[in-house]
């Protein structure tokens, strides 16, 4: 007697389903809009998606959007540039030099978990309430994850590539530039991704503590005036900003890490 073999493989493969992605997003917005339109909740507590879109449009037209966005971007840009450059340098030192690692790693590990926003009052005492204290907070927040990401990226460069370079008499500075840095780039870019989202958190927090312009200041003011549509418009802006940064990092990864 013969019997067809019972199939028992398959499953456990998660594939892309773009329709489901779109439908889920649309469904949430539709339900949200419906709940507000039917008057089930007060628009003061939960404004409708249409209302938020209108608020965003008004912001763009009145020029408010660019003023606040510009202020935030400037702080992020400056803080991120300073913090990541310093973090990269320290990370390289931790990765390459025994003494730097022995001296620096315990200190970095101890300071890394401090929520950097807690230091803003101190920075305000040092630098005043203006821009430098906000930039310093962001720079410090970015500095530690960048240092740690760079350090572990350097650590992950295969030893055999370094031995190979040495076996061809490649000078030390060229080994750093042509073997270690490119080899550590995946780790460094992972650090950029994390630090960018930390920078976004810190800029909002810093602006809520004391700023005239900036998305954080805008959200806080809107909240104080019970203008929830504006408030959520600001939140949407942050979400878009976060997505844009993530997209840029992904783009950089695709371009720079095409060899993987």
């Amino acid at each position: 007697m013969s019997e067809p073999l019972r199939f028992r493989g398959g499953g456990f493969v998660v594939g892309p389903k773009p329709m489901s992605s779109c439908l889920a997003g649309l469904a949430i917005i539709a339900i949200w809009q419906g709940v507000v339109s039917l008057g089930l909740v007060s628009p003061v507590f939960l404004p409708s998606p249409a209302g938020i879109a209108r608020a965003l449009g008004d912001m763009a037209l009145s020029g408010q959007l660019w003023r606040h966005l510009g202020a935030s971007l400037q702080r992020i840009g400056l803080g991120f540039a300073l913090g990541s450059a310093a973090g990269l340098a320290l990370g390289l030192a931790l990765g390459l030099l025994s003494h730097a690692r022995a001296a620096g790693l315990p200190i970095v590990s101890a300071l890394f978990p401090i929520p950097k926003i807690a230091l803003l009052p101190l920075f305000i005492l040092w630098f005043g309430i203006g821009e430098p204290s906000k930039v310093a907070t962001i720079a410090l927040g970015v500095f530690f994850p960048m240092a740690i990401a760079t350090y572990s990226g350097v650590d992950q460069v295969p030893r055999t590539l370094i031995r190979m370079a040495q076996s061809f008499d490649v000078p030390t500075h060229a080994i750093v530039a042509k073997v270690i840095l490119p080899g550590a780039l995946p780790g460094i870019l992972a650090g950029v991704r994390i630090s960018a989202s930390i920078a976004l958190i810190l800029v909002v927090a810093a602006e809520m503590i004391g700023a005239e312009f900036g998305i954080g200041a805008f959200i806080l003011t809107a909240g104080n005036l019970m203008r929830t549509e504006d408030l959520l418009a600001g939140v949407c802006l942050l979400s878009i900003l976060g997505l844009a940064v993530g997209f840029l990092v992904s783009l950089a990864e695709r371009r720079l890490l095409a060899w993987r």
Partner: protein, 251 residues
């Protein structure tokens, strides 16, 4: 160029790896080094190439490197050691770009070795696009580009499957016969050693000592399985007990 090893011993902390190794690699020969795993073969090769500092003893070179040699002592690595972000030509060029060589001469040398080893049409390919065999061909091309006086091969075929190994051994021998570069060929594979070597240095298990250096007195073109059988038997007798004990040790 001769390579003279004088009473080399080496240890990592309390762990003795090599014990009193003395030998001479003669100009124009391939000396294979075999022994059970963990016997210090790769450590010995690291010392020969100046990548490891021996605890005791010294290594000398004797004679001049051939003209045009940029890197007299040159490695071929087990895991190929290619820069994954560089193309085939870029990887070969990496060995050349830190030497006084104008761009045209560098390009000429790259093209020359790639053509020699059948990689010309893959010059712009990335390592990840290549099979293991092709990657090791890049490793060989890179080594030949610097015109070495002494080649140090660290288990060059161990990461490849048996068929690819067979093909590469033949290609390597053909290339070697054209250049006759002095070479030290570390392997754990008896048959590989019997195919390529003029002499086979058998190391004991850790700490590695020289058990015997066996001359393979069969011309390379006559090395059939049958002709090599007695020598293979003899080498296997030398290493089998050591290998059995080494196999049952904690690493």
């Amino acid at each position: 160029m001769n390579l003279i090893v004088e009473r080399i011993s080496h240890g990592y902390g309390p762990l003795e790896v090599l014990d009193d190794i003395s030998l001479t690699v003669e100009e124009g020969e391939i000396l294979a080094v075999i022994g059970p795993s963990g016997c210090g073969k790769s450590t010995l090769l690291g010392i020969l190439g100046g990548l490891l500092k021996a605890s005791k003893g010294r290594v000398l070179t004797e004679g001049a490197a051939p003209s045009g040699s940029l890197n007299p002592i040159t490695y071929i690595f087990q895991d190929f050691a290619l820069l994954p972000w560089r193309s085939v030509a870029g990887n070969v060029g990496f060995a050349l770009e830190h030497h006084a060589l104008d761009a045209r001469e560098r390009k000429r040398r790259i093209d020359e070795v790639l053509a020699m080893i059948g990689l010309a049409e893959f010059a712009s390919a990335l390592p990840r696009q290549l099979s293991g065999g092709m990657r090791q061909r890049v490793g060989i091309a890179r080594a030949l580009a610097v015109k070495p006086a002494i080649l140090l091969l660290d288990e060059p075929l161990s990461a490849l499957d048996a068929q690819t190994r067979e093909i590469l051994i033949e290609e390597f021998l053909a290339l070697w016969l054209a250049h006759r570069t002095t070479a030290v060929y570390v392997t754990h594979n008896l048959d590989e050693a019997l195919r390529v070597a003029d002499r086979v240095c058998v190391l004991s298990r850790r700490p590695g000592r020289i058990r015997e250096i066996v001359a393979i007195d069969v011309a390379r073109e006559e090395r059939s399985v049958a002709r090599l059988a007695p020598l293979r038997e003899r080498l296997w007798r030398l290493i089998q007990d050591e290998a059995r004990v080494a196999d049952r040790e904690y690493v």
